[in-house]
């Protein structure tokens, strides 16, 4: 049962990620795009973790941790830059 779900979850994560990527492209204002980017970063982290557990490799989990840290830093820098831009 859980083997079925663990095989299914990467595809679910990919589908959710593509839907939120569509919001990132469509989003009418800047705030919508930032919201979609936040969701997309979390979904990519989930995809990497479940792929690592599925293939039994701990290397993917290291990659996921570093991706999360750098994604968060990049997100912070992006919000700061967009805030400073109009002033």
């Amino acid at each position: 049962m859980s083997q079925f779900f663990i095989q299914l979850m990467p595809w679910i994560m990919l589908a959710f990620g593509s839907v939120s990527l569509l919001r990132l492209i469509l989003g009418p204002t800047l705030g919508d795009r930032l919201v979609a980017l936040n969701v997309l970063s979390g979904l990519a982290l989930g995809f990497l973790v479940i792929q690592g557990v599925l293939q039994g490799r701990a290397l993917y989990l290291d990659v996921a941790l570093v991706y999360d840290i750098f994604g968060f830093l990049g997100f912070l820098a992006l919000a700061h830059f967009l805030k400073k831009k109009d002033e």
Partner: protein, 114 residues
Amino acid sequence: MEEIVFWIREVGASLAYVISIIFGLIGLVGLYRFPDAWSRLQTSSITSTTSILSMLLGTLIMSPNWEMAFRILIILGFFMISSPTGSHIIARFLWQKNIPHWKPEEGLKPGDNE
């Protein structure tokens, strides 16, 4: 004893994945149905916190050995810090940009639809 642990792992992981799928779907529907960035922020927090968090808990239950379990635990702790902080940064960005709130259309009072 072995069988009990096996069944606890099986049922717990399946339950965590089902919760993750349901809350992810709710969050993504809200991302398209809600009218402005303020209310979309709320559903995006549902997706990124509840869905990803319960999925990480499911992989933590299913993890084959201890080194992967501790790595997932570290990722989970960092994600618990970084994801609400990201939502807070978005909210402060919207607040400082003075992005207007969504209002109902003119001449429509609450309760008119009933």
